[in-house]
């Protein structure tokens, strides 16, 4: 009996090789941090990127192996592995590598790149994402989410100023409260439906149970996850936390949790998809998110708050797909996630560069800078076009996929809800034209203010990240290339 269990655990280790590599890298980074080295930051970032690429290689090898088509449950029913989880793990690791490169090259991030704990916490966030996306049981899911959350609280707080402390305590109180509610709701669901929450039987057991407030409890259970992606009732932390942190931290807390949590929600949406109560409740939240995010983004003058609110609006857009069922909806969510998350660092990097060089913290500070920084400004306009969804960028196709899916769902099921969502999405896109083009307008069409240049930072290193991150926009010319891949992947959800 015990021999079998030990045998099973030993057989499970090959599936967790990436997590083990991350732990080893974590320990080595701690050692590097303790030793006096000349290029400590360079060593740390090289190690982080190397371990992320090693992990991504391992996962890709497993993905291309034909045996991966079968679902594998390992570590005593705690984790599972499907082609979908493998694919998302690859994306999380690549995004982690991009974040590490950003940290090293960020003009405002000199404080962060020379501190060893930044890379340690980044590795912890990546590991949390991997653990939560592979989980089969509620325990590793919450463990992974908390690993991500607690590491982000420390990252936000580590600047040790009044603003960062305030941002961190708000973030922590929201996060801890939503996690506590999630755990309490789970404790109520545990006796009725069990705890293997990604098992297909879980949804049927939940539906058959006679527990009176089960839908309310399920909503409460989602609060911890919705907090991580800042969906409507759990979004108010976003602008404050962004305003209180530097760009190098914003890009970590804006990108990695979304990459991990949206696929988890997608798995649930696939289980609960056909049920009216689930669809109705979720679409109300999505509608509210789109409306709140867009209206609040309209009148922001602070750049970081503007980024935060537009991020909330984008979250609402992505969450539209969770309401629908079918492969096309899942495909459009993954397409949107990949295009959005891998191209956002370019926009953040340019804002970072402008803040370091011209102290541009408010929208008005950008007046007339387009003539001084032509390359950066043009790329910025491109990435804004991507966020709006204008043609020469891949963002166009991500919006088109979501809207056509909404329209075909409406035609198939004749549900007025989908039509309302579609109209809101179209209206939101029109509104987003205004606030996304506010800074490009200031860059090119407003008169320059007399301003002293404070520092001189070479733009070439900055350009490196921008170029990596602008590449996904090229998917516009060949969208089938990505969507055919995704169609294979979503068949395994």
């Amino acid at each position: 009996m015990i021999y079998d269990v030990i045998q099973h655990i030993i057989q499970s280790f090959p599936y967790a090789v990436t997590e083990i590599a991350l732990v080893i890298a974590f320990l080595v980074l701690m050692l590097i941090d303790m030793i006096q080295l000349k290029d400590k930051a360079l060593w740390s970032v090289v190690l982080t990127v190397a371990v992320a690429f090693y992990g991504a290689g391992e996962e890709l090898q497993q993905l291309f192996d034909r045996t991966s088509f079968q679902e594998v449950v390992y570590f005593q029913h705690l984790f599972h592995r499907t082609p979908f989880t493998l694919f998302v793990r690859v994306l999380i690791l690549l995004l982690g590598a991009l974040s590490a490169v950003y940290l090293y090259l960020s003009p405002m991030g000199v404080y962060w790149k020379n501190r060893g704990e930044t890379y340690l916490l980044l590795l912890a966030i990546i590991a949390g994402g991997l653990i939560s996306i592979s989980s089969y049981h509620a325990m590793p899911l919450l463990l992974g989410i908390e690993l991500m959350s607690i590491a982000s609280y420390i990252l936000v707080a580590a600047r040790i100023t009044a603003a960062s402390g305030e941002a961190a305590i708000k973030y922590l109180l929201y996060g801890a409260f939503t996690t506590a509610i999630t755990l309490f709701a789970l404790s109520l669901l545990y006796p009725t439906a069990g705890i293997h929450i990604f098992h297909p039987d879980w949804a049927t057991q939940f539906l058959e149970s006679s527990f009176p407030f089960k839908w309310l409890v399920l909503t409460l259970f989602f609060s911890g996850l919705l907090f991580k992606i800042s969906l409507f009732p759990f979004h108010p932390w976003t602008p404050d936390v962004y305003q209180g942190s530097d760009w190098s931290i914003i890009q970590i807390i804006a990108l990695l949790p979304k990459m991990a949590v949206f696929p988890i929600l997608l798995q649930w949406a696939a289980l609960f998809g056909a049920i009216d109560v689930f669809v109705g409740g979720l679409s109300l939240l999505v509608l509210a998110t789109i409306i709140v995010g867009n209206t609040a983004a309209l009148h922001q003058s602070n750049v970081k708050r503007w980024v935060a609110w537009s991020g909330v609006a984008q979250t609402g857009f992505m969450a539209c797909t969770l309401v629908m069922t079918g492969d096309q909806a899942q495909l459009s969510l993954l397409f949107y996630l990949i295009v959005y998350l891998f191209s956002l660092p370019a926009a953040l990097m340019i804002l970072d560069y402008f803040e370091s060089k011209y102290q541009a913290k408010e929208v008005d500070n950008f007046n007339g800078l387009g003539k001084k920084e032509p390359i950066g400004s043009v790329i910025f306009v491109l990435s804004m076009a991507n966020l709006i969804g204008l043609p020469p960028t891949a963002g166009f196709y991500s919006k088109v996929y979501i809207m056509t899916t909404l329209w075909s769902s409406y035609l198939e099921q004749d549900e007025i809800l989908y039509l309302i969502l579609l109209l809101t999405a179209v209206a939101a896109t029109l509104v987003s034209l205004y606030y996304y083009l506010k800074i490009p307008y200031a860059l090119f069409f407003k008169a320059s203010e007399k301003k002293t240049i404070l520092t001189s930072i070479s733009g070439s290193t900055v350009l490196f990240v921008i170029l990596i991150s602008i590449l996904p926009l090229g998917i516009f010319f060949q969208p089938e290339w990505l969507s055919n891949w995704l169609r294979v992947i979503v068949a395994f959800i």
């Binding site: 049981h137 509620a138 325990m139 919450l142 463990l143 908390e146 607690i150 609280y153 420390i154 707080a157 040790i160 100023t161 009044a162 603003a163 402390g165 305030e166 941002a167 961190a168 305590i169 708000k170 922590l172 109180l173 801890a176 409260f177 996690t179 506590a180 509610i181 755990l183 309490f184 789970l186 404790s187 109520l188 545990y190 006796p191 705890i195 602008p239 404050d240 305003q243 209180g244 609040a296 602070n302 708050r305």
Partner: protein, 102 residues
Amino acid sequence: MIPITLYFIVGAVLFAIGTTIVLVRRNVLFVLMGIELILNAASINFVGASQGDYIKLSGQMMTLLIIVIAACEAVVALAIIMVLFKKAGSVDLMELKKLKEF
């Protein structure tokens, strides 16, 4: 054996008290205490409900996880509160208004 319902009643009462504290009190330390109460309510529910789950003992495992989470969050939160008190001079949520509200 104590029936599961009694555990759940205690859990519900603790949850109600904790949520009320979180929503009403404005001192950061009190809010944290409220969150701890909600986490404890969840622990009690898990331990009570795992009566029917002898072999797998998932409830006990979740309780251990909750204790770990509560400890980690308390450590980070208290460290942040110390920094905040030094830099901003207050741990009252009403007085933390350096970042714009809307």
